[in-house]
C-alpha cells in the first residue's frame, strides 16, 4: 500500500477536570489510504467525533492531544501552531458536519463562501475562483448552478445545503475529508443521494474519507473499512464486509445483533446488557468486560491487545471466530 493520506498512531485525547483526567480517546491507531472511505462507528460518547476533531485541530480546550501522532500526507499535524493548522484546514483537510445550516454562513451568498475558501487556499484569480465555484456546484448536482451561486443558504433545502457543504469541503481539493454524521439530519432518500455523491467524488479524485456515523447501514453501504469504537478505544478494525458479517469483538457482535434486520423477523432483538461506562468510571482491564458474555478473569485485569494497522483485528483477548451474528 502506498503511503496513507491520514495516519493516526496511539492517539490519546485528554480532558483534565476537577475530578481527574478523562480520556475520550485512548490509544487509537488507524490509517486511511487515498480513495479509501474509513467508517468510524460507535455509540454516543465512544469518542468517534473527538478523534475526528483531533485530526483537524478543533478540540475545544481543555481537551487536548496528550499522546500519539497524527500525520497527514507525511506531515505531522498534531503539533502545528494555530496559524499553520488554519492553512492546512480546508486545503489538505475538508470537513462536512452533521447540520448543514450551522456550517454555512447565513449572511453570505454560497458563491462568495466558495470563492473565499478557494482564494484563501489556492493561488488563483478571483475570476477563476468564481468559475470554479459554479463548476463545484455543478459537480455536486445542484441544478442551475450558475444562477444558484447568488443564493443564500436559507434558500436551499436540507439535502441541497449538504451538497453545498460538500462542494465547500472539496473546493480547495483536499486530500482528506472528515465527514461527521453527514446524513444524520437528512431523510432516507436524500441520505442515499448524499452517500452516492460522496462515494463518487472520492473515487474520482482519490480523496481519503473518514466517515463518522452511528448508522451501521450507512457504513455497510459506503465504507471500505470500518473502525468500531467503544469507550474511547478501538474495539475492532477491518474490511467492512468481514467486520459486519463475522465480527470478532463481542461488542461488534452485540451491536450487529441489536440492529433490527429484515431477515431476523420479529423475534426479540439481541440486547447488550447495561450501558457504556462513563469516562470517569472506566473499569479496569478491558472496558467492555462488565457487559461481555465471554469475559474471563484475565479480561478484568488486562486490556485487550491494541490494534495496529495490518495486525490484529479486534482488541479482545478472546476474539470470536466464525460465529454468525445472532
Amino acid at each position: 500500500m502506498a503511503d496513507p493520506v491520514l495516519s493516526i498512531r496511539d492517539l490519546t485525547v485528554e480532558i483534565p477536570t476537577r475530578y481527574g483526567i478523562l480520556r475520550p480517546v485512548s490509544g487509537v491507531s488507524y490509517d486511511i489510504a487515498a480513495g479509501e472511505i474509513l467508517g468510524v462507528v460507535g455509540e454516543s460518547g465512544a469518542g468517534k467525533s473527538m478523534a475526528g476533531n483531533a485530526v483537524i485541530g478543533l478540540l475545544s480546550p481543555p481537551a487536548h492531544i496528550a499522546a500519539g501522532e497524527i500525520h497527514v500526507r507525511g506531515t505531522r499535524v498534531d503539533q502545528l501552531t494555530g496559524d499553520a493548522m488554519r492553512r492546512l484546514r480546508g486545503k489538505e483537510i475538508g470537513m462536512v458536519f452533521q447540520d448543514p445550516l450551522t456550517s454555512l454562513n447565513p449572511l453570505l451568498r454560497i458563491g462568495d463562501q466558495l470563492t473565499e475558501t478557494m482564494l484563501a487556499h489556492l493561488d488563483i484569480s478571483r475570476a477563476e475562483a468564481e468559475r470554479r465555484a459554479v463548476a463545484a456546484l455543478e459537480e455536486v448536482g445542484i441544478p442551475g448552478a450558475a444562477e444558484r451561486v447568488g443564493s443564500y443558504p436559507h434558500e436551499f433545502s436540507g439535502g441541497m445545503r449538504q451538497r453545498v457543504v460538500i462542494a465547500l469541503a472539496l473546493c480547495a481539493e483536499p486530500s482528506l475529508i472528515i465527514a461527521d454524521e453527514p446524513t444524520t439530519a437528512l431523510d432516507v432518500s436524500v441520505q442515499a443521494q448524499i452517500i452516492a455523491l460522496l462515494k463518487k467524488l472520492c473515487r474520482e479524485r482519490g480523496t481519503a474519507v473518514m466517515l463518522i456515523t452511528h448508522d451501521m447501514g450507512v457504513i455497510a453501504e459506503a465504507a471500505d473499512r470500518v473502525a468500531v469504537m467503544y469507550a474511547g478505544q478501538l474495539a475492532e478494525l477491518g474490511p467492512v464486509r468481514d467486520v459486519l458479517t463475522a465480527p470478532r469483538h463481542p461488542y461488534t457482535h452485540g451491536l450487529m445483533g441489536s440492529t433490527p434486520l429484515a431477515s431476523r423477523g420479529k423475534d426479540r432483538l439481541h440486547q447488550i446488557p447495561g450501558a457504556m461506562p462513563r469516562l470517569d468510571a472506566l473499569p479496569d482491564g478491558c472496558a467492555f468486560h462488565p457487559r461481555c458474555p465471554r469475559a474471563h478473569d484475565r479480561c478484568r485485569v488486562s486490556p485487550g491487545p491494541r490494534i495496529e494497522d495490518g495486525g490484529g483485528r479486534a482488541a479482545c483477548l478472546f476474539p470470536m471466530v466464525e460465529e454468525a451474528v445472532a
Partner: protein
C-alpha cells in the same frame, strides 16, 4: 370493531404572513395541508406503524389521535367516540383515559424539576386516583429500580429516561399508546433494549400502539400493519411482509431501495431523484407524480383512490 377508526382525516395549517404584510405585499393567505384525506383503522392489540420522511404528516396524525390537535375535516373515532365532536364530557374523559403518548426526545419530555415518582404518577394523580406504590411498581416493570423514584430526570441516561416516559405512559393503564419516534434519539444497543421492552409490555398489558417512525427497519421489526405517508397522503398500507417483499407503490419502492441495508456492501444503485415537493403548493393529481418513474397523464390530473391490491391498499393509478 377496530379500536381506532380514522376516516378522511385532513389537517390544514394557516401559514399566512401577518395581516399587515399581506396587505402591503398584496399576498393571498396561504395554507399548508399537513394531512390530506387519510383513512385507516387500528385493530385492538396490534401495532400500526406510520412511516414517511420529514413533512409527510406522520406526527400530525399522532397529535390528532391523542387530541393535541383538532382535525380540519374528517374524524378520529376511538371505540366509536369522536373526541373532537362528542359533547358528552364523561364519554370523552373515559376515552382520553385510554390514550397515552411517548415522545421522541426524552430530554425534553420530562420536567427537570420534578422527581421521577411525581412524573410517573401524574396521569393518575391528575384525575385524583390512588398512587401509593405505583411509581415503584412501574419503574421495576420498565427495568429500572424502585429506588430511582426519588431521583430527578438529569440523573438518568437517554435510554433510562425513555423508560421513565414509558412508565408514565403506562400509569393510567391505557389501551392505546401513540409512540412518536420513541427510539430515534437513542443508540442502537439502547434502542434494542427499549424496543424489546415495548414488545413485552404490549403482550403483558394488551396494548395497542400507533408507532410513528422514519426508520424502516425498526418499523418492520415492530409493526403488524404499516402505512406509508407521502406529503400528507397515505400512499400504501400493508402488513410488514407484503410491504417489504412486494412494495406496490412506486414511492414505497423508492424508499426501500434508498434505505441503507446491513448487507449492501459497496452497493451501486442509482439514488432516488428529486425531493419532497413544497406542501403549500403540492403537485396536482398524485403528489408523487413529478418523481415517479411510472407517471402517465392521468397521474398529473386526478388524485388516485385507495385500491386493494394483493392484500395491500395502494393509492396509485399505475400499480398492479
Amino acid at each position: 370493531m377496530a379500536l381506532v377508526d380514522i376516516r378522511n382525516l385532513t389537517r390544514i395549517f394557516d401559514v399566512s404572513k401577518p395581516w399587515l404584510n399581506r396587505v402591503v405585499e398584496r399576498r393571498e393567505k396561504s395554507y399548508l395541508t399537513a394531512v390530506s384525506d387519510v383513512s385507516f383503522e387500528i385493530a385492538e392489540r396490534t401495532v400500526y406503524a406510520l412511516v414517511g420522511e420529514s413533512g409527510s404528516g406522520k406526527s400530525t396524525i399522532g397529535k390528532m389521535l391523542v387530541g393535541l390537535l383538532g382535525p380540519s375535516s374528517g374524524a378520529v373515532e376511538i371505540r366509536g367516540t369522536d373526541l373532537a365532536r362528542e359533547t358528552d364530557a364523561a364519554k370523552v374523559d373515559a376515552v382520553r383515559r385510554d390514550i397515552q403518548m411517548i415522545f421522541q426526545d426524552p430530554f425534553a419530555s420530562l420536567n427537570p424539576r420534578w422527581r421521577v415518582r411525581d412524573i410517573i404518577v401524574e396521569p393518575v394523580a391528575a384525575r385524583g386516583g390512588d398512587t401509593s406504590g405505583m411509581a415503584e411498581r412501574l419503574l421495576e416493570q420498565v427495568g429500572l429500580s424502585a429506588k430511582d423514584a426519588g431521583k430527578f430526570p438529569h440523573e438518568f441516561s437517554g435510554g433510562q429516561r425513555q423508560r421513565i416516559c414509558i412508565a408514565r405512559a403506562l400509569a393510567s393503564e391505557p389501551k392505546l399508546i401513540v409512540c412518536d419516534e420513541p427510539t430515534s434519539a437513542l443508540d442502537v444497543s439502547v434502542q434494542a433494549q427499549v424496543l424489546n421492552l415495548m414488545s413485552d409490555l404490549k403482550d403483558e398489558f394488551g396494548l395497542t400502539y400507533l408507532f410513528i417512525s422514519h426508520d424502516l427497519t425498526v418499523v418492520q421489526h415492530m409493526a403488524d400493519r404499516i402505512g406509508v405517508l407521502y406529503l400528507g397522503r397515505l400512499v400504501e398500507e400493508a402488513g410488514p411482509d407484503e410491504l417489504f417483499d412486494d412494495p406496490k407503490h412506486p414511492y414505497t419502492q423508492m424508499l426501500l431501495a434508498a434505505a441503507p441495508q446491513l448487507d449492501s456492501f459497496g452497493r451501486e444503485v442509482p439514488p432516488p431523484t428529486g425531493e419532497i415537493p413544497d406542501p403549500i403548493n403540492p403537485p396536482k393529481g398524485c403528489a408523487f407524480h413529478p418523481r415517479c418513474p411510472l407517471a402517465a397523464d392521468v397521474c398529473s390530473q386526478t388524485r388516485p383512490e385507495m385500491r386493494d391490491i394483493r392484500g395491500a391498499r395502494v393509492a396509485c393509478h399505475m400499480a398492479g
